[in-house]
């Protein structure tokens, strides 16, 4: 495969679909979802008591409560899954996949270009949400430490990358991709990530929590949620997530190149 042809086609597909992704109706729902952590965090800064169950509810505490539980636990997987699952699946559902597939481009570029367009939206919304939460948390002194903010944003970015590629692959493979991806993210992961033992290493949530655990535990008593005992290091978690992303990306490209999509008239 000519890498330049792949890059060119990916860039073209990306530019073709970037506007379509941003212009779609689901962006509105995604925006509302992304707004939840800063909105609820804002309520917290105004109304929360000084201490809760022994934890000081300062800016760091509020940022941790919202950033770790709601942002990483729900907003990151939900946004990533719901947007990225349609990367290729939307083309199949609207039956427009015939057009790029009858053009002299590497088929993998469709997966790459459309996934990248989805990822741009996902990360844009997540960074906006995380940034707003950080800003709002600073309303209550002292604000969250930079290390914590960086860790949460890094975990969100890495998590979004893995969730989105996984969802895009699931959407490519299965007719009801969204259902399967949601079931994975919120049934399998919620169950397995909270089970003590090494089985939780099968989940993306565990790795995201591993990236933030050290910093988060300083701010809020969240041991019951994070279960930091025998947790892998942040760098180890990050490494594993990027490796998994790479493997999933290659698999997705390979599958789109080989897969036949039976479209109805």
């Amino acid at each position: 495969m000519n890498p330049f042809a792949l890059l060119r086609a990916t860039a073209l597909i990306y530019s073709m679909h970037f506007g379509a992704v941003f212009g779609s109706k689901r962006v509105l729902a995604a925006f509302v979802l992304a707004a939840m952590p800063p909105v609820l965090g804002g309520l917290g800064t105004r109304l929360a008591p000084e201490t809760v169950d022994g934890s000081v509810m300062d800016g760091g505490g509020i940022f941790t409560a919202m950033g770790v539980f709601l942002f990483l636990g729900f907003v990151v997987p939900m946004l990533s899954v719901s947007i990225a699952v349609g990367a290729v699946a939307d083309e199949v559902e609207t039956r427009t996949i015939t057009y790029p597939f009858t053009r002299p481009i590497p088929r993998a570029s469709l997966f790459l270009g459309r996934w990248l367009a989805s990822l741009t939206l996902i990360l844009g919304l997540l960074w906006l949400s995380g940034g707003a939460l950080w800003w709002i948390s600073n309303w209550r002194e002292p604000g969250p430490p930079n290390e914590l903010v960086h860790a949460v944003l890094l975990a969100a970015t890495s998590g979004a990358v893995v969730y989105s590629i996984g969802s895009a692959v699931i959407g490519t493979e299965f007719k009801r991709g969204l259902v399967i991806a949601l079931a994975y993210a919120f049934a399998f992961e919620l169950l397995v990530a909270n089970v003590p033992g090494s089985s939780r290493e099968l989940t993306i949530q565990y790795h995201m929590r591993a990236i933030v655990a050290d910093e988060a535990i300083k701010e809020l008593d969240a041991e019951d949620f994070l279960r930091t005992k025998s947790m892998i290091s942040a760098s180890g978690a990050l490494m594993k997530m990027w490796i998994v992303s790479g493997v999933l990306l290659l698999f997705g490209c390979w599958r789109v190149g080989r897969k036949q999509f039976v479209l109805s008239a």
């Binding site: 379509a20 057009y99 036949q260 039976v262």
Partner: protein
Amino acid sequence: MSGAAIVQAEGLGRWYGEVVGLGDLSVSIEPGITGLVGPNGAGKSTFMKLMVGELRPHRGELTVLGHTPFASRPLYRRLGFCPQQDALYESQTAVQFVRDLLRLGGFGRREATTRANTALERVGLEEAKDRKVNGFSKGMRQRMRLAQAIAHDPELVIADEPLTGLDPIARRQVLELFRGLASEGRSVILSSHVLHEVESLTDRMVLIHRGRLLAQGTVREVRSLISKHPSRVHVGARDPRRLATALLGQEHVRAVSIGANGKDLLVETEDAAAFEEAFARVASEVRAGVQSLHSDDATLEAVFDYLVG
């Protein structure tokens, strides 16, 4: 089989689970305009999807312009496909749609824009080129699909039911477009189940039924293959009874019937060529006053009725 064939299929088969899309199709299609004809569910669309590499055959061999179609980038430079499904990138304007697909085909932005405009002009959408396609009528959307198929000047255009949903004027325009492409030396393979539409464009047919090749060639050639069915000729005459008596004397005439108006004859003959030879002589001998003569057997509808029925 001809060496100049643009499409060569040998024992081609494709299934959808337990449903047979294409059973065992062996066919060779030569350059020019070819109509792929068959009733709904015959396997036309499956064959087209195999030709453009949207699907892979489960059995058999298929080459299009010398390439195995599935994901063949060299083939896609030479091929234009107009799909049947009414699907477009709804948020784009007409010119954006065609231009972006041209750019995927390797054209630079400027050339792609020029070509997109030309293609839209050819399908009669030049005035709507800056409108979003989601506001287009069914006929306009059909023409959009054609525009993207022809914009890169492909050697072969494959069009799946391209005349569906078009009004008579648009249909005439599209038929003219296909004729124009053929006159430029390009090949067109189009499918339809509306036989007279295809017939008005070309007399070269590939007839598919239940996933198999039923017949191939010109309508007359196909017709001549059918020996078990007599050819039917309608004759209008001043004295039809005398003419009927004389014609019944011919060995190749199987039956003659007089129409309800008492003036028209329907002659059934086993040998159309012999009938053509003998008719003029017989008609002048009996001075029947022949007013009209035509055979509806050469129409595709009749051929199809014979073959499928």
